[in-house]
Symmetry: C2
Subunit: 332 residues, 2 copies
Amino acid sequence: MRKRVTIYEVADAAGVSVATVSRALNGGRVAPQTRARVLRVAEELGFSPSPAARVLATGKSRAIGVVIPDATGPLYGRMLRGIGLELAQAGYTYLVESSERDPGREARVLRDLSARDVEALVLIGSGLGSEALAEMRRELPELVLVEREGAALEAPMITIDNVAAGERATRHLIEHGHTRIAHVAGPRRAGRERLEGWRRALATAGLEPGPVVEGGFTEAGGYRAAVELAAMGGFTAVFVASDRMALGAYRAFREAGLRVGEDVSVIGFDGLEFGAYLDPPLATLRQPAQQLGQAAARAALAVLRGEHPENVVLSCEIVPRASVRKIGGGGL
Amino acid sequence: MRKRVTIYEVADAAGVSVATVSRALNGGRVAPQTRARVLRVAEELGFSPSPAARVLATGKSRAIGVVIPDATGPLYGRMLRGIGLELAQAGYTYLVESSERDPGREARVLRDLSARDVEALVLIGSGLGSEALAEMRRELPELVLVEREGAALEAPMITIDNVAAGERATRHLIEHGHTRIAHVAGPRRAGRERLEGWRRALATAGLEPGPVVEGGFTEAGGYRAAVELAAMGGFTAVFVASDRMALGAYRAFREAGLRVGEDVSVIGFDGLEFGAYLDPPLATLRQPAQQLGQAAARAALAVLRGEHPENVVLSCEIVPRASVRKIGGGGL
DNA sequence: CTCGCTCGTGTAAGCGCTTACATAGTTCGG
DNA sequence: CCGAACTATGTAAGCGCTTACACGAGCGAG
C-alpha cells in the first residue's frame, strides 16, 4: 500500500467538503459542474477510494466468495470467468478458494471466506454434506449452489441437466446402432445423474443396461474402470461420464487390444479441449461452464437484492466425433 | 454479512476494555488469565474480527494479489495452491485475477488489484511489456515476478530454468540416438529460453539445428506447427515446448502418417497429467508448479518484511516415456 | 520507606469513507 | 412579495478495529 490519496485531499483541492466528494463519486445529488470538478481533481490526484473504509462505512463489501473443488480444473476456470464477467458489470468482485475436494477443508474455507466480508457465497460442485452445510448455514452469508445438491437449503441452485445430457450421450450411441452399452460412472450428484440419463435412454430404447463401473472422474479411475469393463466384455459402446476418464479408458482399451471408434465406441462428457486431438477425436457433451458461472453470479446478485431467483438448469451440447462409429454388427 | 459481533460486545461480556480484547486477540501484553477469559468469551459469542476495520486501522491487509494469464491452466492452479499454502502459514490470503493473456486487460487487472488493498502483487507469466510495467510501477504495491522477464524492475524473480530444461529435453532425444531434431517453439520468455536450451544441447553434441516452428503454446498451434514440420521433413525427433502443443503435434503427425514413438520421437514440456495416457505416453519435463508458487509467496512475504530476497530458479524433472524411442537409423 | 520500574489495563484518537441532519440559497405559487 | 419547497453543500457521527499514551498497582533497590 503506497501513500494513499484520501478523500480529504481531493475535497481540499476541489474546494468542497468530503461529503460532496463522496456524493460526486457515488452518484449522489451534486451540481453537475461541481461533480465535474471533483472528478477531474480526483483523477489528477490519482485518488482511489479505500475499499476497507468503504466496507466499514457501508457494511457491504461488494464481493462474493466462490468455492471450487479443485484449482486445476479447466471447467472451474471457465466458470470463474463467467462469474467474473457478470460480477464486474455490477461493480462486484469475487474471492476464490479451493476445497481440494476435502469436506473438512471445505468447511474451513467456507468459514474463512465468510469471515472475509463476502456478501454471498457460491459453492461449486461442493462435496460437503447437506446436513453439515445446513448446520453452518446461519453463520454463513447468502448461498448459491452450483452443481451440488441442497434442495432443503432454500438457496438458488444452478445446475446443468445431467440426466438429459447423459440420456443424449447414450442416445447418440444408440442412434449409431449400438445396443450393448456400458457406462463408466462418476461420483457425487453429477455422476449419479449422468448414470440415470444413461439408464433412461436405454429404457426408452428398450435395451438392457450394460455393465457399469465407477471411475471417480479421474484419468486413473477411468483407466481402471475400462480395464475392468474390457475384461468383462459384453458391450460395443461406452458412455464415460467425463472426458478425463475417457482419456484413461482410451488407454485401457488400447492395452486390451480394442480400437476406440472401431471395436468400441466411446463418448465422454465435459467438452474439454484436448478431446478434439485424441486418436480418434473424442465425442462428448460440452458443458456450458462459463454460462453456469454467469448464471451463478446473476443469482447471487439477485439474492443480494433480496429477490428469490429461480433455479437455473442449463443443458449441454453434443459434440459428435469419430470415437463414436456406426456399428456394423460385430462387437465383443 | 450477518449481524456482526463486535469487539465491544466481547469487551462487555468479558468485563474488560476493547483495547484489552484487541491485545488478547493479537498477542499483546495481557495477563494470562485475562487473555484466557477474553478468548473464551470471544469464542462463545462467535466473534470474528472485521477485516475491513482491521485493514483500516492498521493499514495492512494481509493479502496479496496474484495475476495469472489464464484461469483454465492446470499449471496455474498448482501454483496458486503453492501460494495459498505458503501464505496461509503467515496468516495471509490472496486475491487472483486472470489477464486472459491480454496486456490491456492485464494492466487493468493490476490497477484493480492494487486498488483492492493488496500489499504485494505476484505476476505470473505476465505478458505486459517491461516498459509498461515500469511505468505503472510506482502506482503499484510490491512486485514479485514469476516466469516473466523484468530484470530492470528490481523485483524478485521466480523462474524455472527453462534453458537447462530445454537442454535436458533435447539431450534426452540425443541420448536416444537422434541427430536430426526439430523444435516446436513457444512464445514469450519461456518459449525463447526453451528454444535456447534446444540450441545449446545440439551445439554441445555438435549437431546441426533442425527446423523450428512456433506454436503459441496451444493444441491448435502445436498442430499447425507439426503439420508444417511434417511437410518439411528432415528430422527424426522433435522437442515440443509444451504438452498441449505436443498433443496437437500427435494429431498432425498421425494425419501425416507418422507414428509417434516409431517414426518420430516427441518430448513435451510441463508434465501435465494427460500425457501419461496418450498413445504413446508423452515424455516430458515436469514443471515444479507448486514449488514455484510457494517460492513466489515466500518472496512476497520477504519483500513485505523489507528484505531483498534472492531470485529463485527451480529446475524441471525429466519424465521419460514411450514417445521417445531409440533410433535404429532410418528417419524421414 | 520512598523512588522508579514494570505490568496490566483503560481512554481516546484515529484509519478513510458514507450518510443523516442541518443550513443557506433558489425558485415559485398565490 | 412572502413563505413553502427544493436544491446544493457542509457538519459530524459513526463503521470496528488498533495503538499511543496515561494511570494505578505492585515490587525491588537504595
